[in-house]
Structures are given as C-alpha cells and as structure tokens.
Symmetry: C2
C-alpha cells in the first residue's frame, strides 16, 4: 500500500530531473533512465505518461512555493521577510532544478491548458504571498506603499520570474546577486523602506543570528 505511493514519489522525482534535463518534450526512455528502471516499469505505475508529467510539474511548483512559505514563516519583521522572500525566489544558478522545471513549463503553457492553469495559479499564489507581506508592513508602519499592494506584488513576482529565465540563460553579468539587488531596488522604491542587503551567501541574515 505505502510501497506503491513511495514508488510513485520516486518516479515523480525522476521525471522532474528528466524534464529539467531534456525539456517538457522528454521521452519515456529518458525518464526511465533517470529513475534507473526500465520504461515498462514506469508504464506499470503510470499507464499514461502525461499524467506523470503533470504530477511531476505540479509537485515541483508546490515544493517551490511551500519551501518559501516555510522559510519566511519564522521572520516577523516585514522588511526582513520581504527581502528574504525575494532572495528565495531567484535561482542561485543555471543548475537550479526547481526553477529549470518552471522555465521549461513557461513555453508549454501557451499550448497546454493544464500547464497554463498550473502556472497561473502559482503566479497568483505568489502574488498573494507578497501582498500579505506588504500589507503587514503597512500595518506595522514600516512600509509606505507608492502603489497599491496588488500592483507591487504582481511586479515583484514578475521580476522574479523574468530574472529566473535570465539566470537559466547564463547571462554573463546578471547573476544571482545582481538579480536580487535589482528586485530589491524596485521593492525599496515601492515601499519607501531601506530593505536589508543580502549577505555574502545571497540570503538576508536570518533573525535568529541576531542573538549571537
């Protein structure tokens, strides 16, 4: 019983790796190779490969979103939380598997309704996440919004997405640190708040480290 769903989870991870490596037009054999089993074995668990691909992409999106939610949950200061959220929304490098998956999906969404819905939902949830942070900052009087929070939130997520693509394409001068700084610059302008600069590792200093 549990074995079956464990195996399925393995296959989803393998499919994610395969999609990241070969694109959304990945072949069954390539997924099988990534999973280390024969293609027939995959077909045993997923008679329809499209189902596996959708689940793999959905799971990747879900993980990307939830990981960030968990990371920022412990940060109470709105400015710090905003900066951390931004720094977590940009891939560290072209080899970031999660963002690679999302970028593969972008083009597919123009053709495939399911992926369009999934990506749109992810975008909207990320917008909601930023709106929460912005509104929190307003209530605590650390942010003074130059635009309504929906506008700022939509633009922040859009910037994240776009710089993800730039980093995937290995832009020679626009690396992780510059991308985060570019988004932070917009956030500073829109919130009239001096957001903390990321440290060397690219992340803002977690609140806990203040105790040292």
């Amino acid at each position: 019983m549990a074995r079956k769903s464990e195996r399925k989870a393995d296959l989803i991870v393998a499919a994610q790796r395969a999609i990241a490596e070969h694109g959304s037009a990945v072949r069954l054999n390539q997924i099988a190779e990534a999973a280390g089993i024969s293609s027939s074995a995959i077909l045993y668990h997923y008679p329809d490969i499209d189902v596996l691909l959708v689940e793999a992409n959905r799971a990747g999106m879900e993980r990307f979103y939830n990981e960030r939610l968990n990371m920022i949950a412990s940060i109470t200061d709105p400015a710090e939380r905003l900066a951390l959220t931004i720094s977590l929304g940009v891939p560290r490098g072209a080899d970031d598997e999660e963002v690679r998956l999302l970028c593969s999906l972008g083009g597919e969404a123009a053709r495939n309704m399911i992926y369009a819905v999934l990506l749109t939902s992810l975008y909207d949830r990320q917008v909601g996440m930023y709106q929460n942070i912005l509104d929190l900052g307003v209530r605590q009087e650390v942010f003074t919004l130059a635009q309504d929070s929906l506008t700022i939130a939509r633009n922040l997520v859009a910037l994240e997405d776009a710089y993800g693509y730039r980093i995937m394409a290995k832009h020679p001068t626009l690396d992780y640190a510059s991308a985060v700084e570019l988004i932070l610059d917009y956030a500073r302008l829109a919130t009239a708040s001096a957001l903390p600069a990321p440290n060397k590792s690219g992340h803002v200093t977690p609140i806990r480290s203040k105790e040292n």
Copy 2:
C-alpha cells in the same frame, strides 16, 4: 540565386509558425506541413534541421526587436516614446506569434547554448533601448530617475518578459491592458514622470494624431 534565398525565407516563416504551434521540439513533418511541401524538400534546403530552427528563432527575435525600434523612431517626446515602447513589448493576446516563439525559447535556453546566447543578446539590446530612452528623458529634464538607468531598463525588460508569459498562459484577470499599466506604473515611479495612459486600442496616441 535569389530564388534559393526566397525559398529559405519561406521555410523560416513556416518554421516559426510550426514552432509557435508545436513548441521547440517541433517535428520535421510539422514544419513541412506548415510550409505546404514535403519533408524531403525541406531537407534539400536545410540538410540539418537544427540550423533551420536556429535561423527561424533568430529571425523572429530580430523582427520583434527591429519592429519596435522602427515604431518608436518617429516619437521624439521621451515620455511618449517610453510608453509606446512598453506597450509594444507586451503581446496583445495568447495568439501573438512573435512572443509565443520567444516563450518557447525560454525553457530551451537552459539546455541549448545557442538559444541562451540569442536570448541574452535580445535582452541586452532591449535594455540598451530603454536606457537610451531614459537617458534622453533625463537630458530633456522630463525624467528624474529614482534609480540608475541600467537598473530601471533591466527591470522594465524583465517585466515585459514576465507579463508576456502570463498573457501566453491566458491569465484570467491580467490581460494586455493591465500588464501595460503595471509596467507603466513602475516606469512612472522610477522616472517621476506622469507617463501618458494608453488609449482604448492599448497603444499610446501617436504624436501625429495631435494634428487632428
């Protein structure tokens, strides 16, 4: 002599349509169908299909960039030029073939060096285009930049790109007009300038219409 290159131009257009419809993993047969000839005939002109695909994508990018340059050339007012450039950088709908092509490419760039270079070059040229407009506006004292022009230009192109993807995915509330307005909102904030609002058609009013 001329016939040969005319034919090749036809095939490039056909390939662009086929890529927009079927994605970057488009089949030779699908290109042949789009071109209305047999697959062997295509192979006669392009023994290596990858060469055709690269040329098709490159030509699509080139056209997208040059079209905008031509459209904005006649506008002398920096604010109008900036607004028009923004309105031309966002697809009118999910069926926009040029942007569809670019979106297909986004995911491919993570895997294929050639496409990474092409897309990066397009991005940088668009950034340069915006920087020219911004610097012009500063010299004419209609813009007061809140950030350096490279930062603003990079963010403007990034916003364009990202909203292109959203529109391709048929976001239910984020359509062409809202996307343009979102980008304009950032541009207004960054230039401290009240940029003209787009008219009903989504374009800003061309300067010539003032003579009416």
